[in-house]
Structure formats: C-alpha cells, structure tokens
Symmetry: C2
Subunit: 275 residues, 2 copies
C-alpha cells in the first residue's frame, strides 16, 4: 500500500459508460493524462473525450499502440471481443486491465502478457458526482511491476486500495449485489407499499439511515449486522407476520414469496446464532 | 401540526423494553414528568425508573389511577392483556395509547373511552442512543382533544409528527419491515459472503451508504428507488446471474432462493417501468 514515485502513465480508456465516464474524469482531475476515449458510439466518445481533453474514437483500430495503460470499462460480455481486437493493435508490453467485478482476469490473460484488474466497488450513475476517496479500489495483476503501477494510480484516486484476487473479487461482487441491488429493491418495495396508501417515501428515510448507522456504530473489525436484527421475523411474532402476508396477498401478491423467504432466512440465522 | 400550549400531562409508561426505555428517557430529558414505570420484572422497572426519577412497579394493580396519559410500550401480544388489567384500575377519562406499528387502535377501544397510538417509526436498541428529532412520530386518536394532546407531546420530541390512521400505520409497518429488517438481512448475507473469503465487511460500507445517498439526492416528493437500480438483474446479465447462483450453490445454498426471488422481482419491476 506504499505510495511509489513511478512515472505517471499515459492512459487510454475503452468505454464511455458509467464507469469509464467517472474514471476518466477522476484521472483527469488528478492531472493524469488521458490520451484517448473509445466508445462504439462516436458521439459518446467525443463527448467524454472533450471533458478530459482526450481524443474520442469509435473504432478500436484507431487506438494508439504505445500507451502505458489501457483500461477496459465496457459491459462484461463485451470485454472479450474488445480484448481480441485490441490485442492485434497494441504493443506487447502494454498493461491492459478491466474494471469488472464479475469477470476473471484470465479473460485478459489469453490476449495480453501484462494484464490486471482495476475494480471500483461502487455503483455509478452518470449524472451523480462520485467521491473517489471513499471508494474501495480492488486491484490485481500477475506481475509485481504491473501491480505496483496500478497501486500507484489507485492511491491517487482512493484512500482504500485493496489487492484482491479473482476469487475474492467474484465473492465481493456477489456480496455487493445483496447490499446494493437487493437492498435498493427493498427500498423500492417500501416505496410501492407506501404509495398505495398515499404515504410519502420520505417517512422511511430516517429508518433507512439508522439501519446503517447501527452498523457504523459497531466497533471496527467486529461489525455484524445479524446482531442488530429486529422485527417480527426474529421475534417469531407470527400474528404480525400473518397480518403482513395477508396485506401483501391483497395488494402486492408478487412480494409475498420474497417476504416469506426473508423471514425464513432471518429465523434460521437466529437459530444458528443461538446454537 | 401547530404547537399548542396545553398543560404538560403526567405520564405512566407500561413496559421497560427498547421503546419504553428510549421514550421514558426522551420525555424526561424534555422535562416531562414520568410518574411510574411498569415492567413485569421489578429489576427492569426500577432500573429505568431510577434513570427518569420515576417509581418502578411490577404489578399493574400498583399503577396510580389518576394519570393523564398511559403509554403501553409492551410486545404486541401483551397489549391486550395489559389493557384488560389496566382498565379495571385507572380512571375512565385517562388517555391510553400504545406504541405499536402493527396493532390496530381498536384493541384499546374495547377497554378505554380515550384511546390512541403514539408510534415512533424507528427500530430501537437499548444501548444505542436515539436522536428523537429525526424520528417520524405517528399519532392517532379518536377524539380531537386527545389527538391535540398527543400532537403537543410528539412535537416536543420530534420535528416530524404525522397523523396516521390504523390502516396507514399497518401499511407503514409493513414497509418498515422491508427497508429495515430485510435490508439488514441483506447486509448480514453480504457479511457472511465476505467472511467466507477472509474479506472484511467494512469494504462494503461505502457502497451501502451510497445506495441511500442516491435516494437522498433525488428531489423531495420525487424519490423513486426503482430509477436507481443497477446490477446484473436489471441489466439481464444472465452470465453473471448464473455465476452468482453457482457460487451460492457451492457456499450458501440457503440464499439461492432469495437471490432468484430478488432477481425476478427487479426484472418484473423493470418491464413494468418500460411499459
């Protein structure tokens, strides 16, 4: 995690989606030169390129061969085809990384001698500004020199840089789906349930924040959400559970199964803790 | 929602659990006298009573008859039996409320002429301090005078006081289970998934906070979590979904069903938005 004093590399970013967008801007703001931005759509490439004083291209063959670092920030299923085309154009000693949580680095290994991963553990939206200092950056590379290059770059953006191998990163990505996507869906359900009775979603925001504050209040290294569980499931309050299931049956039958699965999960977790 | 200048009532709190504990302390800190604290366990009653300069009792018959307000803050299934015993001892014109999200006020109506609800929309833990100013307080009463009494009291504690009828409160409670209990269970699963590969739960905290910050950034009155959804489910990225399901199969088969139910829910919500 030491900060090295390596020369700042010249970077090309492949992809102008959410991740590519925020990453290009973050590097630019740190004074790290972005040479080119690639996007399938020329307009998108040029729009982002303009923001970071780079050149926008929409043909992978136009990517300049001699960059130090290529960051592939495209959809998971586009990583491989992009890599194939790129490998025919760029120099053999260039470092190529992707930004995906779900894709193994082996996908790049087939095409590049120097490969790695530069994965920000965050969910990006283009129009929402991002505080990179607080985003955990998970890096991985086969060679020490490449890893140290990525480490240096990552530390310019974030105060939390982690060396995470393929197996750990896939695990992290799965956990992220639970705490981000599935949690957000719970919020969506809460919103739908309130709307049905003309109640504003805002009422729930203090409770939502408090759910996290309770975890934040647990000591570092001893955080354990299961110790904070409350509600009818963990109390085994079957009257309230039945009342809720009836209510869902009448208004939102599509959420009934989820309610039961959650309740079952919370209750078996409790019995495990008790053992 | 106007602040009235009614005389401050004398209060007896029935129950020294999480809600009773925090409510007694909050009233005491506001200079509102608590006369008695009841708990089945004498030790608990006396412990809390000492904190708020009240008298602790463990027999409902010892509750003094002439108080202005009785707050029943016991488990849902104990509300009715407590009310039955109380109704034989206290004066007919006393106001009796419970603090439950799930119980209808009709439960008290059978036993008291003046009944109501004083429901804080928050999940309490005894050892965690509470910021009452930010907790939505949902009040309900049949008579205007009672409602105004509760409104006055509630506004001493919270800046968000809402008049919420039985039907709305039950709906609110169901929504709270989704955004609090079920979300916390998602955090618990995230924690278990990381622990299995020696990764610290702390890595997920920025992502967890960001999930809420995105909602906070939406304009007041237009908050809609479904517009913020990201991840493999909404992208219909079946490769990643299958990879996650395999991973769960191998390590946490008990979460597989929940993953599928969540994914299905997110995907049908999307297709609904698209229509």
């Amino acid at each position: 995690m030491m900060r090295s004093n390596k020369k700042i590399p010249s970077i090309t970013i492949i992809g102008a989606g959410n991740v590519g967008h925020h990453m290009a801007i973050a590097f630019h703001q740190q004074g790290i030169p972005i040479t080119q931005i690639y996007s399938r759509k020329k307009r998108n490439a040029q729009k982002l390129a303009k923001l970071v004083q780079a050149i926008g291209v929409n043909d992978l063959k136009e990517i300049s061969a001699g960059q130090d670092l290529y960051i592939i920030a495209v959809n998971d299923d586009a990583i491989e085809p992009v890599a194939v085309t790129m490998s025919q154009h760029i120099q053999k000693d260039a470092l190529v990384v992707h930004t995906s949580g779900a894709c193994p680095s082996i996908l790049l290994k087939k095409h590049f001698r120097h490969f790695g991963v530069f994965y920000p553990l965050q969910s990006f939206s283009k129009d929402k500004p991002v505080n990179w200092r607080t985003i955990p950056l998970c890096i991985h590379a086969k060679y020490k020199r490449d890893l140290s290059k990525l480490d240096h770059l990552a530390q310019l953006l974030s105060k939390q840089v982690l060396r995470v191998d393929d197996e750990q990163r896939a695990q992290l990505h799965l956990a992220a789906v639970f705490v981000n996507n599935f949690t957000n869906f719970c919020y969506e359900i809460g919103n739908n349930i309130l709307q049905a009775k003309d109640l504003p979603f805002e009422i729930l925001l203090p409770l939502i924040q408090q759910t996290i504050d309770k975890i934040n209040a647990q000591p570092e290294g001893q955080k354990n959400p299961s110790l904070l569980q409350t509600g009818p499931a963990i109390r085994r309050d079957q009257d309230t559970i039945n009342q809720h299931l009836n209510r869902l049956n009448q208004q939102f039958p599509q959420y009934r199964e989820l309610y039961m699965e959650m309740t079952k999960g919370i209750q078996s977790s409790k019995s495990k803790n008790k053992k």
